[in-house]
């Protein structure tokens, strides 16, 4: 459990890169001062869109690589990997840019944490599947950059420095089959959501 807690904590610290990370953050008032630890690039929205496109283009390959870990996963994708994640953050495509960025932040934070769990589980359960590991790492890296850019945009333009986020279930205490199944469900949901986000931005 200590190892698990340490893993989650470090993951959240990496995701947020600032003091106070790890706890749900409220949306700051518009008039509050907002600062980022790193200078934000000028073409933030373009970068966000490109990062979304990049994630969307690699989502299918990641999903296929994940399901290649023996039956029943390759042939029962609909039963095992359906995107029925109950507590997944919602996204309002018809909202303002600020609302959409806030939703995007919550989704990417959720996905990033879940991807951390999947990466950890797969390194233990499938230590020799370097293809899957590299795809998971690459996706996690892009998500971290995207989260940073979204935060920059929210902070710079909308002066939002805190957003309440939620995370998926912790898989550390679950059995191996359940870990595989939950990971597959999350990646199925990720593949679906990232396509919607690309459309929205």
């Amino acid at each position: 459990m200590k190892v698990l807690a340490a893993g989650i904590l470090s993951l959240l610290l990496v995701l947020h890169w600032k003091h106070g990370a790890g706890s749900p953050l409220p949306i700051t008032p518009d008039n509050a001062t907002c600062t980022t630890r790193h200078p934000c690039p000028s073409n933030l929205m373009t970068q966000i869109r490109n990062q979304l496109l990049q994630l969307n283009s690699s989502a299918s390959a990641l999903f296929i690589a994940y399901t290649a870990q023996g039956e029943p996963f390759p042939s029962n994708v609909d039963k095992l990997c359906g995107p029925n994640v109950t507590d997944f953050p919602t996204f309002h495509a018809d909202g303002t840019e600020k609302d959409k960025l806030v939703d995007l932040y919550r989704i990417i934070a959720y996905l990033g944490a879940s991807l951390g769990n999947i990466t950890r589980d797969q390194k233990a359960l499938n230590p020799k599947d370097q293809n899957l590991h590299s795809k998971l790492s690459s996706t996690a890296d892009t998500m971290r950059g995207l989260l940073s850019n979204v935060l920059c945009r929210l902070c710079n333009k909308y002066h939002v420095s805190h957003v309440d986020v939620s995370y998926g279930p912790d898989t550390s205490g679950k059995d191996v089959f359940q870990k595989k199944k939950l990971g597959c469900q999350l990646l199925g949901k990720y593949k679906q959501v990232i396509a919607e986000l690309v459309q929205a931005f």
């Binding site: 039956e71 230590p127 059995d175 089959f177």
Partner: protein
Amino acid sequence: MALFAALQTTFLLVLLPLGTYQRKVLSEPRPLTPESLEVSINSTCQCLHLQWSIHSLPHHQELQMIFQIQISRITTSSVVWVGNYSTTVKENQILQWSWESELPLECATHFVRIRSVMDDARFPKPRSWSKWSSWEEVDAQDSLGHNALFVFPKDKLVEEGSSVTFCYVSRSNLNNVSCYLDGEQIHGEQLTPNVSTFHLSHVRYKRTTGTNIYCEMKQGRKLAGTVLYVSKVLEEPKNFSCETQDLKTLKCTWDPGSDTALTIQPSSNYTLFESFSQKKKVCEDRNWCSWQVTQDSQEMYNFTLMTENYLRKRSVNLVFKLTHRVRPMTPLNFILENINSRNATVTWKVRPIGNSTFQCQVELHHDGQVIQQNNVFIKVNGKYLLSEMEPDTHYLARVRCAYGNHFWKWSEWIDQKFTTLEAAPSVAPDVWRNVRSLPGGYDVTLFWKPLSKSHANGEILFYNIAVESLDKSSKFNLSIPAPHNDTKLTLNKYSYQIHVTANNSMGTSPASVIVIPGEPGHKEIEEERVKGTENRFSLSWEPQSRDAIGYVVEWCDHPQDPLCGLQWQKLGPNTTSTVISSDAFEQGVRYNFRIYEISPGWIASLLEKKTGYSQELPPSDNPQVTTSSLTSHSFTLNWKDYSTESQPGFIRGYNVYLKSKMEQCTSGFERITPSDDSAGCRHKIDNPEQKTFHVENLEPASSYEFFVTAYTSAGDGPNGTFTKVTTPDEYTRMLTHIVVPVILCILLITVLFYFQIQWMKEKCYPDIPDPYKSSVLSLIKSKENTHLTIMNLKDCIPDAIEVVNKPEGSRTQPLGTGKPLTETELTKPATYLYLLPTQENPSGSGPCICFENFTYNQAASDLGSSGHVPVPPSTPPSQLGLLYSPENLLKALEKYYTNSLGEIPAGETHLNYVSQLASPMPGDKDSLPTDPPVQAQCSEYKMQMAVPLGPASSPPSEDTSLSSTAILDQGEHYC
């Protein structure tokens, strides 16, 4: 009284033991029923964990007790396990015990009860069991949650070869659930209405990541699963051994066997425990571990190597004395010194271990094989002389050492490669020659074989050829660089002695000598056949002289090639046979061997010639056979062009196959397979030089098929097609020889008779009698009318002249025109010269009238005409000129030939008889009259001939023959 006292005493004596017995029985404690039984489930190990206690232990003592435990499944009556658990019990002690279930505990409700019995020696037997505790129920399904389908156990880890039971728990109808192991469906047994179990026996290891077992519900798209991990069995470490190189550190090694690591189970770890020192060390590697030797001079060591994984523990033990496990380090400073062509010196060092000596082993290797091995004992520095080596040869020297006080193991080898120095070649090159006579000299080609490595003693740089004339004092040298192995010399017709030596950097080899005589002998030697076997020939010969110094057998490996691949083998003087073998020998190739005798003066003279095949083959082709002398009973076959020398075997003869429709073979032939008609008959010719065969005793007018093939000892030549021959009929032959001459004779006689008849006819009864020659005329003159005369031919004007068989080159000219004929026209065999003017010949100068031959005109003869219709002399020339036009001509004809025209209408008949000029007299053939036809005598009768009524062709026609015809318009006819 005394009796009473005695009875009382007896009674007391009886009661006393009874009382004692009663006291003892009462001292046994009553059975103690286990209390506070609690049962829990440990899903990880699939164990039922029991806790209970015993209250009111008598005397507050520790008691040895036996607890009997009953476990039931689903219902209390279905007991699945009963067992005893013996332990020492204290007052108020909580007792614990676990039971591992084969069936996953989540699959069914379990019931447990327990009872006890004293097992203490302080209490007398028999002892009775206590009452059973009440059944304690354990149902794990209550805490499963709300999912529709579960599979148990989770993440099961078992050893390879063991058995495992799975189950699924469904919330709905079981019939809709199918379960799979690694994608393949498995079938189980229904345990309860919503639980089915699957038993897997002797499971096999598949992969470190485990095998998915899952069940799916057809309806509701539910799928649940678990992962089965099958571990390889942890093996006992093999070949456990410890040794030291310096008496300071021990290195223990072992063979760990298969790695049992899985993704949920790490590799088994290994631990060394030394019992004398009670020290332990966890090893970092799976197959070796180092151990620091204590400084307190511990001599004996007792090691236990332990290993374990989640499922099993293993251990091995090893006891040894430290100084008996010394393996020295690899020797140092291994150096080769003083290397020459035969010897070298090796030196080395060892790391000292106390004052101990070392036993060292020195080895010399060549071509991967040990050729020398020696042991030496040293203290620190070693030295050894390697000898008896070959010059210019690669060697490998190596050395290893062992502890001198107690041999345990050799150290690792240390080695070094080296090459000995070169030396002069040790033997003369093997030289042979090929001599070809030239006008006034010889072409001598010298061949030599490269020296073997053991004889060359280094790299051969060149060959020296010294040529010395034996007849006059002349000498010259040649140097042929290696690797050339032949050279050509052109020598005069003297005797020469040739010395050939091989040279390397260290010197010259002994010389090989050959003498070329000035006058080669010309001895006819008959070639003898030898039979080879596979790739060898056994040759033997008769010595010619007693003082021969040796023999040489010469042959070509590739006799069909221009370069031939000359080979030779030199043999000693006492050798009269040898076996020539070569990988180049091929079957079906003729090899010629020449055996030479070498005289004391090194002159080679041809002794014998042999030829043969390593293996004969059937002929490669068949003779091309021609037939001749065909008669009704025989014919002759010839194949004189067939070459017997170029065949892949010695031609032994020929087989002549003959097929006919007759059942019996002709004489000289034998039927080869009676059941097969197609095989026919065969005649065998044993003489290969007989290349003709006369097939006789045949039936006339019969068809025969023959096929000739050569044969060797390996069989017949290739299959070929049979050639068909049909004998002629006997009568045909007779006809040819008898009837044809007869016919020729008849024809000759006929011709003779024909000419004779012509002559007789001319003489006796010509078709047109010559009135001058007729006796009738004299008769008439004398009896009736003396005025009757013979019509003068000059009174007749001829209408046409037929030129028959006009000789080539003669010149003629159309009458009336004077125009000369062309050469083509002149060569016509027969030509009419038209005297009547026609369209084609309008310029005819004068008419010529002929008379119809009334011999063919019955009506005319009926008129009593004599056949001569004289042209009226009163007809003027101008009137004749009117005949130029067709109308006038027709009128004239109508006038004179009314009867004829009336009887043979032009439209009804196809033939018109026209008169012709009589055949010219022999005297007319050479020169036709060139005078105008008016002067010609036309009174002669012309022969009649049939002319088809067709379009008029312009005369003279190309189609005219000996009797050409002047053809007029259709329906018209002229004489």
